[in-house]
């Protein structure tokens, strides 16, 4: 079994800040793409996450009539928190915050938390647009969740473990992304979906006046938007040990490689926004169940057969 050391509680306390830094890079990438599409100069979007943060932090909060403020606040504050919890099981090079023997399942459990949070963010404001958006997210979640679970299982089969560090260590020589492309792509797609981003931004889209964001302003809105980029960052970070060989790589150390790979994946996830049309849940349901589900099951079969070959 691979050797990772658990970082102390002080590092765990810094984890949210570190993830926030990664998410800021992601947000800068997304803002730059949008700014360039509007015709602004290259790199003009780099400062926009900060401009936007400053704007939202001095904007007044707003509540709607007869809103369920408790559940609304649970959703708003929950998004960034769950994103952090998602990331704690990911080893960065030789250190990890929580060396859980079931890290993969933990990640899965946290992504399921997002079901509840996006829906609650839609329910809370007592507003037609956001309520529809919250429900629409659940409709999409039913289609991506099972393929995602199988995509998470495939590397675990190959590594004979659910411990994330073991998964990274099992890829000496060949990355899982190379010989498990289906699982890798489904994982990335699901990451975009549970962050409600890009083609899967069904919970927060223009056709419902911003969906769950339709009534949210000020620091509340900031937390939701930051939470979404944090979720993308956590998923990108997780992709590294799951599919991209963890910290393995020449010259740079394992920590640097983990960060570099995560940034590349994150940039890819962020750049998908706006490049392809919205995938509506009523279309995607059948694709998830009739195409992606069998495909990921076959992927798992391949992983199992290869793992068996390797073991005997």
């Amino acid at each position: 079994m691979s050797e990772v050391t658990e970082a102390g509680p002080l590092w765990a306390a810094l984890a949210p800040v570190a993830l926030l830094a990664l998410a800021t890079v992601g947000a800068a990438v997304a803002h730059t793409q949008a700014a360039r599409a509007r015709g602004e100069a290259a790199l003009s979007g780099v400062g926009l996450p900060f401009v936007e943060s400053a704007r939202l932090l001095r904007q007044r909060r707003r509540v709607t009539v007869a809103a369920d403020r408790v559940l609304w606040q649970v959703a708003i504050g929950g998004l960034p928190v769950v994103a952090v919890l998602m990331a704690v099981v990911v080893p960065v090079g030789p250190v990890v915050l929580v060396d859980s023997p079931v890290g993969v399942v933990w990640f899965n459990a946290m992504d399921v938390m997002l079901w509840a949070l996006w829906w609650l963010a839609g329910w809370g404001p007592n507003s037609a647009h956001s309520l529809m958006a919250g429900h629409r997210f659940l409709g999409l979640a039913l289609a991506y969740e099972l393929p995602l679970m199988f995509a998470l299982t495939s590397p675990a089969i190959a590594a004979h473990s659910l411990r994330v560090a073991d998964l990274a260590a099992a890829q000496q020589g060949l990355w899982f992304a190379v010989w498990m492309p289906v699982a890798f792509l489904v994982f990335l797609g699901a990451a975009v979906a549970f962050a409600s981003w890009g083609p899967f931004a069904v919970a927060a889209h223009a056709d419902l006046a911003g969906g769950v964001l339709a009534e949210t302003s000020g620091v509340d809105r900031w937390l939701v938007l930051v939470g979404r980029h944090l979720v993308l960052a956590a998923a990108a970070l997780m992709a590294v040990p799951l599919f991209l060989g963890g910290g393995a790589g020449p010259l740079l150390g394992p920590v640097a490689w983990t960060v570099v790979k995560a940034v590349v994946v994150l940039a890819g996830l962020e750049l998908v926004a706006g490049r392809v049309p919205l995938v509506r849940p009523e279309r995607f349901a059948e694709v998830g169940w009739m195409v992606l589900l069998p495909a990921t099951v076959l992927q798992m079969l391949v992983a199992a057969v290869v793992a068996l070959g390797g073991a005997s």
Partner: protein, 186 residues
């Protein structure tokens, strides 16, 4: 440490369970129940049952998210904005609850539980997997037809449009007659 976590989680779990019946909102009731289950999951984690604890959290959040949907859809009243009672047949329910609680509590306290003999396996998830594939194989083999039957049974009862409605009485329509088109055809 384990004891602290246990007691905190236990209190949260019971408090959230009480909250289920004290609120006027289907959404709050459902998510209070979810919180209660999460606390139970934390208790399992405190007992070093890693896989079981995490999977309880995972499954229960998922199931409660879906249950909220049905609570809101199918209860015959406004799901949040009117006073409502979350309890039914109070007297019977109270009686059953008290009897069961007393029974279980008596059993818990009165039975001379044996001490632990031997140590638990190093990797419980692995031994769970081995059990499922080995000695408890029968469970798995039974569950698969049961789940299949569940799929067919619930959908026969719950799905409003079967294939005859979609393809006509002789199933001879080239394309299904669905109100909103899907993503894969047929």
């Amino acid at each position: 440490m384990t004891e602290v976590v246990f007691w905190v989680a236990a209190v949260v779990s019971v408090a959230a369970g009480v909250a289920v019946f004290r609120t006027d909102s289907m959404a709050r009731a459902t998510y209070a129940l979810a919180a209660s289950f999460v606390a139970v999951g934390v208790i399992l984690l405190a007992f070093d049952l890693d896989y079981l604890g995490v999977i309880v959290i995972l499954m229960m959040i998922m199931e409660m998210a879906i249950m909220a949907l049905f609570m809101i859809m199918l209860m015959g009243m406004n799901p949040a904005l009117m006073p409502m009672s979350m309890v039914h047949s109070k007297r019977t329910a109270t009686a059953i609850a008290v009897v069961v609680f007393l029974g279980l509590a008596t059993a818990a306290l009165a039975i001379p539980w044996p001490g632990r003999s031997g140590a638990p396996a190093a990797d419980l998830t692995r031994s769970l997997g081995e059990a499922v594939m080995g000695s408890k194989m029968l469970v798995m083999l039974t569950i698969s037809p049961v789940l299949f039957a569940t799929i067919v049974g619930t959908l026969v009862l719950g799905h409003p449009r079967d294939r005859y409605q979609r393809y006509g009485d002789d199933l001879d329509r080239a394309r299904p007659d669905d109100p909103i088109e899907g993503g894969v055809g047929r």
